[in-house]
């Protein structure tokens, strides 16, 4: 009964999503408050129904109800409970259900928190959200129904793709979806504003927390996915410019731009049309990401759903929503009242620069990701026998993305320190001198110590240091008491001033410092050491200042797999640092081998080992890596997300006021 109730709840949620996308919007157009008033309860009940449906599917997985086709195909009674649960979203149908669940929950959250929002905006936002939900619920019911039944039921399931049986999988997709789908709220806000024909600081005030939430989750989701690929795919890379990765990077870049432009709008009532466009584009890129992953147009690890019907359906959703919202934009945007104008050298000017660079780099990734697909489609259409296949990889992105990213990163501390409306570039430069000098000193020192090594690494570390120190400078400057830090009793005063700074200022500094950490982690990869060796038990090899010894090779049994592990000991001279157990696993249900990397964290770096081959005489073919500071790549993104979270806690309404007094004492009313 549980399964069927879940199925019916999903159908009913579809009916309600249609109601939600029609009646409140009708209310907005007809200026009928009662019709608009249906939006909140309908959104809440719709979310509850989708939740019932999701819980029902999870229950089927947990109890191994093999009368559900989806469970048979993706679960196995011998699987540990955690993977039975994560199995729910490890497959196409279940992950689409999770997608819609998050969409509906976001809509419900807006409904709950929307009491202070203008009613017309709230109705428009929820209506737009309802339309998106309707499209995806229809997609699920028509092409990817997770509740299809099987009778008689088999006694055992087919197991889960072994690559996906991993703690990373339990977290990565939900985080990523929270990010992707979170931007649907910004999209719905944009559509709501366009329908209403009005957009202002109030709009920005209400959309900002949602954009931040989505951005935080997307940041964590991408970082989690990168770490998962790093240790699960067994070749030690952390970013592959794989189309699926790019699909999540594009909304992140656009979302980061959106985050900054909403600040301008909230404080200065400017950049309205651009912000609306960015909201639409960010969610459109999320949809394109979903399309790329779900349609199977890409052949990569992630594209486990290959089904043309689904691809066509998602493409139709894409065209309707992106095309529809852009058409609405073209029609209504000219009616929006433009806000104030501002000087190029000002905080808002810097944020425009930020937006330009982010948008350009996003466009670069877009072209690099979709051009090969478009080329193959067009040439395949002209000459079906011989479509042109090209692959665009790291060299392209290094040449195009990095030249855009580096100047942007260099400019970050400047933007952060400029005042609203009228900035004083010279004053800012003076304040940043200390940070700049220190960053250059760091670069030179690192270069000297590692003389003869790659030059890019010290430069990258210098850039990272500049970002961290520059972000701190802003906090230090703003908490500087009148007589300087070192006058008597002033240190305490400075601390209390620092504590009294708006949380968003701390959030900004933290997030920008997080980028600095990630940049340092990336730069340090240039010093990485890679060795491909075949070792006999007892043999020792050198690896970037450490030694690795193979103790032996042994078979082992897991709950639903067998594996052969190589036992490695990592030594620093004669001191044992720890052991590694990389292995090759065979999963019984799928009869498919996977390799498990062995990781040992030393400081912020890691020794990484994966097994290429185990020979019958006990020798092991191994890939060994030493990756200095590699953890900073992911720690940095966690710090970024923390900064976002801190900024989210800042609930104040803001107004950007020009500053008239001397620069060092400048405290914009942030």
């Amino acid at each position: 009964m549980i399964v069927e109730v879940g199925h019916y709840a999903l159908v009913l949620a579809f009916a309600l999503s249609l109601v939600l996308s029609v009646i409140p919007i009708w209310g907005v157009v007809a200026r009928d408050g009662v019709l608009m008033g249906t939006a909140r309860p309908v959104a809440l009940v719709m979310a509850a129904l989708v939740a019932v449906s999701f819980v029902a599917l999870t229950a089927a997985y947990v109890t191994s109800d093999f009368s559900v086709v989806n469970v048979v195909q993706n679960s196995h009674s011998a699987k540990p409970l955690v993977y039975k649960i994560s199995g729910v979203w490890s497959n196409h149908e279940g992950s689409m259900l999770l997608w819609v669940l998050i969409l509906a929950v976001f809509a419900a959250a807006v409904a709950v928190r929307g009491s202070g929002m203008p009613q017309r905006l709230l109705a428009g936002v929820l209506g737009a959200q309802g339309a998106v939900a309707a499209a995806f619920l229809a997609f699920i019911l028509v092409t990817s129904n997770p509740f299809a039944r099987l009778s008689p039921a088999p006694f055992e399931g087919q197991g889960l793709n072994p690559l996906l049986q991993d703690p990373g999988l339990a977290i990565h997709p939900p985080l990523l979806y929270l990010g992707y789908v979170g931007f649907s709220i910004a999209f719905s806000f944009a559509v709501g504003a366009l329908i209403e024909g009005r957009i202002d600081a109030v709009w920005a005030r209400f959309v900002r927390p949602w954009t931040l939430v989505a951005w935080i989750f997307l940041t964590l989701g991408i970082s989690m996915g990168s770490y998962w690929a790093y240790y699960e795919l067994g070749w030690g890379g952390w970013w592959f410019w794989d189309p699926v990765e790019n699909a999540s990077l594009m909304p992140w870049l656009a979302g980061t731009a959106l985050l900054h432009s909403t600040v301008v709008m909230e404080k200065r009532d400017a950049l309205k049309v651009w912000t609306i466009l960015l909201s639409i584009l960010t969610f459109s890129l999320s949809l394109i990401g979903t399309f790329l992953v779900r349609s199977g147009v890409l052949t990569s690890v992630h594209a486990f759903a290959t089904d043309p019907t689904r691809g066509t359906f998602i493409l139709a959703i894409l065209i309707i929503f992106i095309g529809g919202s852009l058409a609405l934009f073209a029609w209504r945007a000219p009616m929006l009242r433009q806000g104030g104008i501002f000087a190029p050298v000002s905080r808002e000017g810097a944020l425009v620069l930020n937006n330009l660079f982010l948008a350009a780099s996003c466009a670069t990734v877009f072209v690099g990701t979709l051009y090969p697909l478009a080329l193959e489609a067009v040439t395949g259409w002209l000459d079906p026998a011989n479509p042109a296949k090209i692959s665009v990889g790291a060299p392209f992105f290094n040449l195009t993305f990095l030249p855009l990213a580096i100047p942007l990163l260099l400019a970050v501390p400047f933007g952060q320190s400029l005042a609203w409306k009228r900035g004083d570039l010279l004053g800012v430069a003076q304040r940043l001198v200390t940070a700049g000098v220190l960053a250059v000193l760091v670069t030179v020192a690192v270069l000297a110590v590692t003389w003869g090594g790659p030059v890019a690494a010290p430069l990258g570390i210098g850039l990272g240091a500049w970002l961290i120190l520059g972000s701190l400078t802003e906090i230090v400057t703003r908490s500087r008491p009148a007589g300087g830090f070192f006058a008597s009793g002033n240190l305490g005063k400075a601390l209390s001033r620092a504590a009294g700074l708006p949380r968003s200022a701390w959030g900004t500094a933290l997030a920008h410092a997080g980028i600095g950490l990630t940049v340092i982690g990336i730069a340090a990869t240039a010093w990485g050491v890679e060795r491909i060796v075949t070792m006999k038990p007892g043999e020792t090899v050198d690896l970037g200042g450490y030694q690795v010894r193979l103790d032996g090779v042994a078979p082992r049994n897991g709950p639903d797999y067998r594996e052969t592990v190589a036992r490695l000991v990592v030594l620093d001279g004669s001191k044992v640092l720890g052991t590694l157990e990389p292995g090759k696993r065979i999963f019984a249900a799928r009869n498919m081998p996977t390799s498990e990397a062995g990781l040992l964290t030393v400081g912020l770096g890691q020794v990484y080992a994966s097994v290429a081959e185990i020979e019958s005489d006990g020798r092991a073919g191994l890939r060994l890596y030493w990756k200095p500071l590699v953890l900073l790549i992911w720690l940095g993104s966690v710090v970024m997300a923390l900064g976002g979270g801190l900024s989210l806690l800042d609930r104040r309404v803001r107004l950007g006021a020009p500053v008239r007094s001397r620069a060092p004492a400048a405290v914009p009313a942030e």
Partner: protein, 364 residues
Amino acid sequence: MVVTIVLALLTGAAALAVLLPLARRPAAHAAGDADTGFYAAQLAEIDRDAARGLLAADEAEVARVEAARRLLAAERRAAAVSADASATWRRRVAALVALVGIPLLSVPLYYTLGQPSLPDQPLASRSQESKGNLDFDQAMARIESHLSANPEDGRGWEVVAPLYMSMGRYDDGVRAWASANRLLGETPARLDNWGEALVAAADGLVTAEARAVLDRALKADPTSVKSRFYRALGAEQDGDSKAAIEAYSKIIEDVPPGSPVVKSLAERITKLGGTPPAAAQVAALPPKDQMDAIKGMVEGLAARLAQDGSDVEGWLRLVRSYAVLNEPDKAKDALQRGTTALADNPDGRARLEALGRDLKIGGS
């Protein structure tokens, strides 16, 4: 029934989500309220910041002017928008959508997609159903995972195949028997079972593939009852009643009287419009008379063989019959007489001796 109630409750909740807000009085909610509130909050905050010393007095003044300017603009806008009107006809249409539209969409859609009568089948409760035989499921799962790791293990396939058949997993049964035949070599018994599995997997239809397998079984052992039965069934399905009746009758004559298959074969023959052979008519008698009749028939056979001892099939039936009637001495005696009578038929004698060994009454 419970399902229907729960589905009805869910539908009701969905309809109420639309109906309840419609029943509310139109809110006296001016469009600009939230806006003015927003700017008023902003003004209050500037005062707070100024009081905490985060804003210099002149900066606070500038900010206050800016916020006040926006507040005034918002209030002007709010005044321009007339209070929200709500027409009764619009509310009626919306209510109709909730009451009729929602169920009209969701119920038929669900009945096309879902299977409301199919209960949940969690694995734990299913093992209890099968006589609390949890060990059986576990053993089964173990064998299956063993076979997926070692697909070339013919013995394993042979062990698991009858289990599949008894569980009703006929497709798996076909795969298992095919593998067993491929890996261990074809024997009449394995071919019989493979053919049977093919028929079962095709919902009782004797397919061309099944026929090919059964024919191979019959080539190896023409007396195989199973294969002959399914071939006859195939003939029946082809509409060739005459051949089917003939084949069924032949089987009845060859199996020991009293064998459980006799009755069902006789029924098939009758259904096809034929007359079951005498042996089968016994099956229709009450149990006590049945025994007498059988004994009478066996004695008749014995008498016939005493006159003409060259009928190999006759001797085989006689020995088998005595064994079935639990008369080992008579069976042994018949075996000896048969062996003697078939002195000039080494082939027939060998079969008879083999039967004796199978029934453990030989030893001559």
